[in-house]
C-alpha cells in the first residue's frame, strides 16, 4: 500500500512507468497477513507449549528458579504416574462416555428437530425455530441453580437422586448443545433446495426416508460441524460437573484434574499440566481429522441460515 502511494507521483509524469502494481499490493497484503497470523499463533500456542514443557519437569525443577522455558532434566514421570493412576483413567472414561453419549443424543434430537422446523411448515414453526435459538442465549451460569432445585424436587417426588452421578451430565449437557446444533442444522437444511425433497416425495420417499437418504447425506458437513461443536462442549464443560458431581469416581476430566491434583494449597503442577494436555488430545485429534468439514459446515450455515 505504502509503496503504491510512493509510486504514484512518478507515474503521473509521462515516464511510462506502471501506476501502482496489483502484484506489489498483493505481496504487502500477504506480508501483513503473515505478520498477524504468526503473532496470533504465538499468542495462542504459548500456553500449550508451556504446559508441555512443564509436564516434562520434575516438581523440584518446576519450583527451582531456573529458566521456565527450558527443561534441564526431562522426565516422563508425570505421564507414567498419571496414566497408571486408576483415578485419572476413571475421569477419562467418564468424560469419554459422557461426551460420546451427549453427541449421540444431541445429534438425534437436533437433526430430527431441525428437519421438522426447516421443512415441515406447521403452525408456529418459525416462532419455535427462533425460540430454540433464544434458549441458547441464556447463560449456563444462570441455569445451574434452578437445575439444583429441579433435582431436589425430583429426589423428593420420585426418590431418584440425580446429584453426584456422572450420568446426570448426559441429561444436563444436551440442553446446552441441542439448541445450537438444531440452529446450525436448520440453517444447513434450509440451504438445501426445496425441489430436492419434492423430487424425493414424488420418487416415493416418506419423510423419514427423505431425511435419512437425502438430507443427512447432503448435509453431512453441517452434521459433522455440529458434532464437533457438541463434543467440544461436552468434553470441556467445567461448571456443571463442578456443581453436580463430587465423589472422585463420578468426576470428569476437567474437574477431576483440578480437584484431585490440587491438595490443599499444594499444586502438583507437573501432573496438572500433563493431565490437561492429555485431556486436550481427543478434541484435537477429532479437529485435525474433520477440520475441512468443520469449516465448510460453519460457513454454509452462516450464509444460508
Amino acid at each position: 500500500m505504502a509503496n503504491a502511494a510512493v509510486a504514484s507521483p512518478t507515474a503521473t509524469t509521462i515516464s511510462g512507468r506502471k501506476y501502482g502494481s496489483m502484484n506489489r499490493d498483493r505481496k504487502w497484503a500477504l506480508r501483513w497477513s503473515y505478520f498477524f497470523l504468526i503473532l496470533f499463533a504465538i499468542f495462542f500456542l504459548t500456553p500449550p507449549i508451556y504446559m508441555f514443557i512443564t509436564s516434562l519437569k520434575t516438581s523440584a525443577e518446576i519450583s527451582a528458579e531456573s529458566n521456565p522455558w527450558w527443561v534441564y532434566s526431562p522426565t516422563l514421570a508425570n505421564y507414567i504416574e498419571l496414566l497408571t493412576q486408576n483415578q485419572y483413567l476413571i475421569f477419562f472414561r467418564n468424560s469419554a462416555i459422557v461426551a460420546v453419549l451427549t453427541v449421540l443424543i444431541t445429534m438425534v434430537i437436533s437433526v430430527i428437530a431441525a428437519f421438522a422446523l426447516a421443512r415441515m411448515k406447521f403452525w408456529g414453526s418459525a416462532t419455535l425455530a427462533t425460540g430454540v435459538f433464544l434458549t441458547y442465549l441464556i447463560p449456563e451460569t444462570l441455569l445451574f441453580i434452578p437445575l439444583f432445585k429441579m433435582f431436589a424436587w425430583v429426589n423428593e417426588t420420585f426418590g431418584i437422586q440425580l446429584m453426584n452421578h456422572w450420568w446426570t451430565l448426559i441429561i444436563l449437557y444436551p440442553h446446552l448443545t441441542v439448541p445450537f446444533c438444531t440452529w446450525i442444522m436448520i440453517g444447513y437444511f434450509a440451504s438445501i433446495p426445496k425441489e430436492l425433497d419434492e423430487a424425493a416425495l414424488i420418487d416415493g420417499a416418506t419423510w423419514i426416508q427423505t431425511l435419512t437418504k437425502i438430507f443427512i447425506p447432503v448435509a453431512l458437513p453441517g452434521i459433522i460441524a455440529a458434532t464437533i461443536f457438541c463434543f467440544t462442549v461436552a468434553w470441556a464443560q467445567f461448571l456443571y460437573p463442578l456443581a453436580f458431581t463430587t465423589s472422585t469416581t463420578e468426576l470428569v476430566l476437567p474437574v477431576g484434574i483440578v480437584t484431585t491434583l490440587i491438595k490443599g494449597d499444594v499444586f502438583n503442577w507437573g501432573q496438572i499440566m500433563t493431565g490437561a494436555l492429555l485431556g486436550a488430545a481427543p478434541p484435537l485429534i477429532i479437529y485435525a481429522f474433520l477440520m475441512d468439514y468443520y469449516i465448510a459446515g460453519l460457513t454454509a450455515g452462516a450464509t444460508k441460515g
Partner: protein, 366 residues
C-alpha cells in the same frame, strides 16, 4: 391410459386466488404446454397435478381417478424441475434408480430400465458420474432419465430449460420432443417462453391471472386468438395493436387508424364486423409479418401506405422496422434488401386478410 382432467380447480394462498377455477382435459399421450407470464398460475397448476400443492377447490383426476387427496408418490407421475433437483450425493445411476429402489423393484429390472432410459437420452457413459461433474444439459437429461425410468402415467415439466443457455435450450427442446415421440407418455409442460410452447405442444394452454385464456393447437392460437392477451402473448415480435374505429363509406367498411390512414375491411369480414361500426374502444391487431415493404404485385386485401421509419433492426433473413402510426408503435418485417432506413419515409404494405378486430373493453377478439 392416462388422461388428466381438471374441473373447477382453485388454489388460494391465504386471501389471494392463484388459480381461479380452471377446467382442462388432457387426453392420453398428449403433450400439453401451460404458458403465460410469471404469476399466472401455471406452475401452481402443475404442482397441484403433481400433488405438491393442495388444491383449495375442484377436482383433479389422473387416468379417471380423482387424486385430490392422493400423495404425490401414489399418483404415478414423474416431474422434472427447473433446477434439475438431482440428488448431489448420488451418481447418475443411483439418481435414476432411487424411485424404483423405494418401490422395491427387483435389481435386474431396475438395471434394465435405467440402461434403457440412459440409451434413449444418450447418457450411458455418464452413469457413474456425480451431478456436479455434469454440464447443465447433461443434468437436464439425467433429470429426464429419472422421470422416464419410473414409466409414469404423466410427465410433468416445470420450466425445465430455463436454466440453460439459449443454444442448449433449443437443442434440449428438440431432445424433449424426440423423447416424447419415443415414449408417448402424457406430458404437461410449464414454460413462460412462448416459442418453447409453440414448438413442443400438441396443444397450448395460455394462462393469465389464474385463468385459462385459450386452449388450442399452436397454429390455432397463432392465427385465431380469441382474446387480446393471447393475440399479444403468442408470436414474436408481438402483434401490433392500433386503436381504430370502423366506418361505413360508400357501402364498404373501412378501418380507420388516423385522419389520413384507413384501410378497407376484407370483403369476407364485412358481415362479421358490421355491428361494430361507430363503436369506441376498438383495436386493430396485425402481426408484423403482415406489414411488409411494398411490392409490384398486389394481392387482394393488401394496401400500401407511406410512413417514416423510427428504428431499423436487421435480423439477417429479414429486417424489422419500427414506426409510429397515430401514437402507437408498430413493427413490420421487411426484406433486408428493401432499403429500410431509420428516420426516412418508407412505402409499406399492410395485408389485412389476417387482421384481427379486438374489443378493448372486453379484451375479446371479434
Amino acid at each position: 391410459m392416462a388422461q388428466v382432467t381438471l374441473r373447477k380447480v382453485v388454489k388460494m394462498y391465504d386471501e389471494v386466488q392463484a388459480v381461479r377455477g380452471i377446467d382442462l382435459d388432457i387426453t392420453d399421450k398428449e403433450f400439453i404446454v401451460l404458458v403465460g407470464p410469471s404469476g399466472c398460475g401455471k406452475s401452481t397448476t402443475l404442482r397441484m397435478i403433481a400433488g405438491l400443492e393442495e388444491i383449495s377447490g375442484g377436482d383433479i383426476a389422473i387416468g379417471g381417478d380423482v387424486v385430490n387427496d392422493v400423495p404425490p408418490k401414489d399418483r404415478d407421475i414423474a416431474m422434472v424441475f427447473q433446477n434439475y433437483a438431482l440428488y448431489p450425493h448420488m451418481n447418475v445411476y443411483e439418481n435414476m434408480s432411487f424411485g424404483l429402489k423405494l418401490k422395491r423393484t427387483p435389481k435386474d429390472e431396475i438395471d434394465r430400465r435405467v440402461k434403457q432410459a440412459a440409451q434413449i437420452l444418450d447418457i450411458t457413459e455418464l452413469l457413474d458420474r456425480k451431478p456436479k461433474q455434469l454440464s447443465g444439459g447433461q443434468r437436464q437429461r439425467v433429470a429426464m432419465g429419472r422421470a422416464i425410468v419410473r414409466d409414469p402415467k404423466v410427465f410433468l415439466f416445470d420450466e425445465p430449460l430455463s436454466n440453460l443457455d439459449a443454444k442448449l435450450r433449443v437443442q434440449m427442446r428438440t431432445e424433449i420432443k424426440k423423447v416424447h415421440q419415443k415414449v408417448r407418455t402424457t406430458t404437461v409442460y410449464v414454460t413462460h417462453d412462448q416459442v418453447e410452447a409453440m414448438t413442443l405442444a400438441d396443444r397450448v394452454v395460455v394462462m393469465n391471472a389464474g385463468l385459462i385464456e385459450q386452449v388450442g393447437s399452436p397454429n390455432d392460437l397463432y392465427h385465431s386468438p380469441t382474446t387480446k392477451f393471447v393475440a399479444g402473448f403468442i408470436g414474436s415480435p408481438a402483434m401490433n395493436f392500433m386503436p381504430c374505429h370502423l366506418e361505413q363509406a360508400a357501402g364498404a367498411l373501412r378501418v380507420r387508424l388516423s385522419d389520413t390512414l384507413s384501410f378497407p375491411v376484407p370483403a369476407d369480414r364485412t358481415v362479421r364486423y358490421a355491428p361494430q361500426v361507430g363503436k369506441a374502444n376498438l383495436i386493430l391487431g396485425l402481426r408484423p409479418e403482415h406489414i411488409t415493404e411494398t411490392r409490384p404485385h398486389v394481392e387482394p386485401n393488401q394496401h400500401d401506405f407511406q410512413n417514416p421509419i423510427d428504428v431499423v433492426e436487421p435480423m439477417g433473413m429479414e429486417t424489422l422496422v419500427y414506426f409510429t402510426v397515430a401514437g402507437s408503435e408498430m413493427c413490420g418485417r421487411v426484406n433486408p434488401n428493401a432499403g429500410a432506413t431509420a428516420e426516412k419515409p418508407m412505402k409499406l404494405r399492410a395485408d389485412l386478410s389476417n387482421m384481427h378486430l379486438i374489443d378493448d373493453g372486453t379484451g375479446k377478439v371479434l
